[in-house]
Symmetry: C2
Subunit: 230 residues, 2 copies
DNA sequence: AAAAATATGGACTCACTAGTCCAGCTATCG
DNA sequence: CGATAGCTGGACTAGTGAGTCCATATTTTT
């Protein structure tokens, strides 16, 4: 009878203070279990009992930590997104070369290939796709989920990628019209959406890795065909 | 006690014979109601009782016609898709000009704008998006749903659009490299994915229609920037 | 007009789930 | 060491939803 939902709920707006009550190790275990079970079964079908079992924790503990199913779902979503965003950010630091160091168009292509490939891999294979589907499916019933998703994810990564690509344009390595540069995140969207064709159904039986690379390359080449200076 | 699921179920493979038992008007009413309720509430939350009520039909009648919830869902999905595909096909007939009649690049741009705009409007606003989300969300649990979706929808429309675009390339109005032409549906995908940026979250408060048009134009211009001959 | 097929509505079974309550157990920390 | 916060497991409430059954009514076909 510790925390039977004291706060009057502060969803809509922003960050619930959420003092980290209880043992953090249990909290982690529950969060992970929630990830597993929600992603496997979907929001409605997933049972708190199943999550508690998966986390090797009693049901009451789940309620002590997270209050109710919906808040548990949100906490799990935030958690997965935070870790993914960190991953993607690191990726951009690591794989994106200093524009001034690129010697020729082949270098540029290689860099984009590397970056777009890793980006797509992280964002579109792995648990994030499934999670996105869930959020999408639930968003009809919990509209703020959508907004939260964007605020928490794409709104953090896309401007970053867009800045990197704009820098290439400024350095003369890409020839991008001003109308495009002026629209927030558009350039980043164009690159990732194209490379995202990598996500279209890959026939079973086909070598996934090879096909994946091929499609990322198609996307990057389309992007370059539009914006490579000549 | 007419049809308590006699057939041993023939999902996985192809078309259930499904002789149209019962009154077709009731069948239509149920299908429409199923559309409304499933799309509003999602698969799990939607109740057969609610659907029956919406269709002004008794619960038993629903079961007589469709056997169970899952088959009802599939029948509804097929129905919506069939009607959408018909719509899109008609659109292509209507809006896509004879390549030989196009006099200049401005004509081409206008034609693509028209076609892509209508296409995106039909496919990405309206009930189909919501349905797609549902199928996506359920596909974890009923894997054949995905395949059925593609077979029934994109597999019918994309090759058609691709053929139209290829014709433009053949007529010299677009300059598309052979590697692209050789990949099935790639060209069509590139156009629609680009114009599909129109679907990215439009801020509430912004004039939807204007913003929509602007984005479709961005997509088409990107496409043309890559493939317009010079 | 009789026979056959369908539709109705309401009662019923069965399974399942969110969330609560509680009495006893365990780890932690002053 | 003893108090306290957190954890456990299981029993319990209250609600919901799929699918069935059936006696009665309505519609369609012959």
């Amino acid at each position: 009878m510790t925390a039977t939902a004291k706060e009057p709920r502060a969803h809509q707006e922003s960050q619930e203070p959420q003092e980290p009550q209880g043992n953090p190790r249990k909290r982690r275990a529950i969060l992970n279990a929630a990830g597993t079970v929600f992603l496997r079964d979907g929001f409605t079908r997933a049972g708190i009992d199943a999550i508690a079992a998966e986390a090797k924790v009693s049901k009451q503990t789940v309620y002590n930590h997270f209050g109710d199913k919906e808040r548990l779902f949100m906490a799990m979503t935030d958690d997965v997104q935070d870790r993914t965003v960190a991953h993607v950010m690191e990726l951009m630091d690591r794989d994106f070369p200093d524009p001034s160091k690129l010697t020729g168009p082949e270098d540029l292509r290689a860099a984009l290939l590397q970056l777009a490939g890793e980006w797509i891999r992280v964002v579109y294979t792995g648990p994030l796709v499934a999670l996105r589907k869930l959020v999408d499916a639930e968003s009809e019933h919990h509209p703020y989920l959508q907004q939260r998703w964007f605020t928490n994810g794409p709104s953090r990564t896309m401007p970053r990628l867009n800045r990197l690509l704009s820098a290439l344009a400024r350095a003369g390595l890409l020839d991008v019209p001003a109308e495009v540069l002026d629209v927030p995140d558009l350039l980043a969207y164009q690159l990732t959406a194209m490379a995202g064709s990598a996500v279209r159904r890959i026939e079973p039986g086909v070598d996934f890795e090879a096909e994946f690379q091929r499609r990322v390359a198609q996307g990057v080449d389309f992007f370059l065909r539009a914006y490579a200076p000549r």
